[in-house]
Amino acid sequence: MKTTPRLLTVLAVLMLCGCYANTVTSNQRIRKDGWLSTHANIRVVRETAVSDDLLRIDVEVENTLPFDTRFDYKFEFLDAEGRMLFGPTTGFRQEQVPAGAFVTITATATDPRAADFRLTLTNAD
């Protein structure tokens, strides 16, 4: 008899796990590959609002390699429910960064519903 509530709890947990099994979630906002995985140091991520309600992101990327290099990056904006927002200028941009120096990459959401962002940093060479 005592085992019944425990069993119900286990079943409830298993059911909840089942409900979310198909949803892959990640809170990783910044994704890196290639040399960036080991030698691109994200110094600062600033989230501010411009023009009252538009989300602006500034990210400082440091090149810890002993030579100049370049990388591609892309910002994408998401609403409060995690849905991707369309932007007419979304796409990869390229940036050069000198050895041991850092650059600031920025993006401004054109949609006031933007609540979160995703940044992809990828090797350009």
Partner: protein, 194 residues
């Protein structure tokens, strides 16, 4: 013997040539990633328009100039973007991206250039007894310039996109912005990796 050798050599050479030719050919595919788009030195590529629009929009939003309008969304018209490059280009490739982004922000509304829509709106105004013209609070104008240079066999092209947001109530530039896209190389590249 010599004749046999030369014939077989010819066959081998043709086979290599045919295989080489097939190897160089590439089936058409849809390109969705900007990094896979062709980068040309002496012209504005499709990804360059997006890059330029993004640069000027970030400057415009950061300036706060759009927030100075007394009514939101403020009425805006795009008057003229001058093409001062050597290419024949449609400046709508820039202005349409800017229009979409600004409308998405909810801060401005663009006056339509559709003749029928204007006719209907005029009729509605006439019926309502409103004879005041629909005037824009802001006007957008601009210019696209090109600067070319070379060093040896390396060529460089810079495209400069200048835009102004004019406050029509005061006839003053409420904001001016500029974006630049510079490309360098000896020949066009299949993608951004060169």
């Amino acid at each position: 013997m010599n004749h046999v050798l030369s014939s077989s050599s010819l066959v081998i050479a043709l086979a290599i040539g045919a295989f080489g030719g097939v190897g160089c050919q590439q089936n058409a595919r849809v390109v969705t990633d900007d990094r896979d788009k062709i980068v040309s030195i002496d012209q504005i590529d499709v990804q360059d328009w997006s890059n330029a629009a993004d640069q000027v929009l970030q400057q415009l939003f950061a300036s706060g100039a759009l927030d100075t309008a007394p009514v939101k969304p403020a009425r805006v018209e795009v008057t003229r973007v001058i093409n001062d490059t050597t290419q024949r280009i449609d400046t709508d490739l820039l202005t349409q991206k800017i229009k979409i982004a600004l409308q998405q922000s909810g801060k401005v509304a663009f006056a339509s250039s559709d003749a029928r829509a204007n006719e209907v709106a005029d009729y509605e105004d006439f019926k309502a007894g409103d004879d005041a013209p629909r005037l824009p609070y802001f006007v957008i104008n601009g210019k696209i310039l090109e600067i070319r240079t070379s060093a040896g066999s390396t060529k460089q092209s810079s495209f400069v996109f200048q835009l102004n947001l004019v406050n029509t109530a005061q006839s003053l530039d409420a904001w001016s912005g500029e974006a630049e896209v510079t490309k360098q190389g000896t020949r066009n590249a299949k993608n951004s990796k060169g």
